[in-house]
Amino acid sequence: MKVLVAVKRVVDYNVKVRVKSDNSGVDIANVKMSMNPFDEIAVEEAVRLKEKGVVTEVIAVSCGVTQCQETLRTAMAIGADRGILVETAEELQPLAVAKLLKALVDKEQPGLVILGKQAIDDDCNQTGQMLAALADMPQATFASKVELSSDKASVTREVDGGLETLSVSLPAVITTDLRLNEPRYVTLPNIMKAKKKQLDVFKPEDLGVNVAPRIKTLKVVEPAKRSAGIKVPDVATLVDKLKNVAKVI
């Protein structure tokens, strides 16, 4: 069984982004870019399934600018067998990415598609569910445990108030939550090996997908700042402030 894993190149999670002074967006020039953390978990899960012998090939896919090749190389250093880049300089919104992935699903016929539950830049949490709908596959989002058999996946999901387990027939779409696994560190030999792995490049037109954005960003601003608070010397003062100044207890 083949597994398709989608990976997104995003601003590294340690970077505190700044809003551009003309309010047209956030400044991502010269900041560190990395693989979206949830996607790293997705790649790790796919590679573990391969190591267990239930999966034969792991294909990493990224959609975006040329530099996404680096993100794909990272995925291949974790253990993906090959990479596919759908290259475009256009802004890609989740619906467009889902359509590109659907075209690749039709081409590659994977038994399973694993994606991160959300990207930490646009915080949308949409692509996996959209792909499942377009490909008419069942979905198991926010996964914290995945067990695979030949025609079904049993997936434990993180939901409000606890955990839920679903059984979905394959092919299916799974999106990862934080507790699914802890991605391995990539080693230098694996980084070197990854450079030799196959990486195919397509354009959205090659896949017959129109990626024009549906949602226009009118402006991006800094969030309202909290006014600076005070330090209190001891617990008694804290209790007094809460009771008599803030009046919240």
Binding site: D160, T165, G229
Partner: protein
């Protein structure tokens, strides 16, 4: 122009997140209908009809809707939208685990973009939403005929649960997709208020050191304040607290009256989940901890001393 709110409920009652979503729908300015899709959910539908500002409740009942499976829920919503009599222009889900699960399926089938996690309605096609863990706020405009939206509940007040008198209409339940099935659910049993609805939250971080210490220190404080318990991602990853207690960018987004952060350093991902709280208290022994930059009242102290002292003083 009509808005359809997809209710979050447990068949017997309506969950709080639905009320905030109704407020967002009302801000759009259209008629507000509420879909209650479930199994034996008559009581929830009746409760939805009492929500102020709702003009119609659509009640779809069947075993296919019992577990809230995304495939069946999406099919149910799509069936209502395809009925032209509905004239639905806006479909709103609360941005909860179940709303986030279903909404994009509906958007993709309609071939429209989704606007996630809105915190403000500027006009019927323009909305504000946080991006980059809340470090920026984007104003976005949708050109699609139908707007599929998830609503960040902390961005909108709750609509009054009573005062409305909407008519209840029944709709046929969507057929089961046959592709997914519910197996089991482990719900954390707790007498405490729900994290996203609590007026006071006490939250613990990695500094607590173990799950025993987490319980030993945080529980008495929560009991004393009648508060919900939250945790930072570091505390959850270390196994000190359950997954569903995580507050932050990718966990729960909360905005209580009072948020007490104990031994939480304040990574941007955590701040994203709680910085809209009305009053923030931080107890941390590291004077440089970023949490102090958002705290109204900061106490630089060892939490193992300060928290029991606080419990005694309350």
């Amino acid at each position: 122009m009509t808005s359809l709110v997809i209710a979050e409920h447990d068949n017997a009652s309506i969950k709080g997140a639905t009320l905030n979503t109704v407020t967002a729908a009302a801000a759009i300015g259209a008629d507000v209908h509420v879909l209650v899709a479930g199994h034996n959910a008559g009581a929830a539908a009746a409760a939805a009809a009492h929500i102020a500002g709702v003009s119609k409740v659509i009640h779809a009942d069947g075993t296919s809707l019992e577990a809230g499976l995304a495939e069946n829920m999406a099919a149910q919503v799509l069936a209502l939208i395809s009925n032209a009599a509905g004239n639905y222009t806006h479909i709103l889900f609360p941005a909860t685990a179940s709303g986030k699960n279903v909404a994009p399926r509906v958007a993709a089938k309609l071939d429209v973009g989704q606007i996630s996690d809105i915190t403000k309605v500027d006009s019927p096609d323009t909305f504000e939403r946080p991006i980059y863990a809340g470090n920026a706020v984007a104003t976005v405009q949708s050109s699609d005929a139908v707007k599929v939206i998830t609503v960040r509940t902390t961005g909108f007040d709750a609509a009054a649960a009573t005062g409305g008198a909407a008519q209840i209409e029944t709709a046929a339940a969507a057929a089961d997709s046959g592709k997914s099935s519910f197996v089991s659910r482990e719900v954390t049993k707790s007498d405490r208020p729900e994290l996203t609805a609590a007026k006071i939250i006490v939250s613990g971080g990695r500094a607590l050191g173990s799950s025993e210490k987490f319980d030993e220190v945080m529980t008495p404080l929560a009991d004393k304040l009648g508060a919900a318990i939250g945790a930072s991602r570091a505390a959850v990853d270390a196994g000190y607290a359950a997954n569903d207690l995580q507050v932050g960018q990718t966990g729960k987004i909360v905005a209580p009256e009072l948020y007490v952060a104990c031994g939480i350093s304040g990574a941007i991902q955590h701040l994203a989940g709680m910085k809209d709280s009305k009053v923030i208290v931080a107890i941390n022994k590291d004077p440089e901890a970023p949490i102090f930059s958002v705290a109204d009242f900061g106490l630089e102290a060892d939490l193992f001393v300060a928290v029991p002292e606080l419990v005694a003083a309350l």
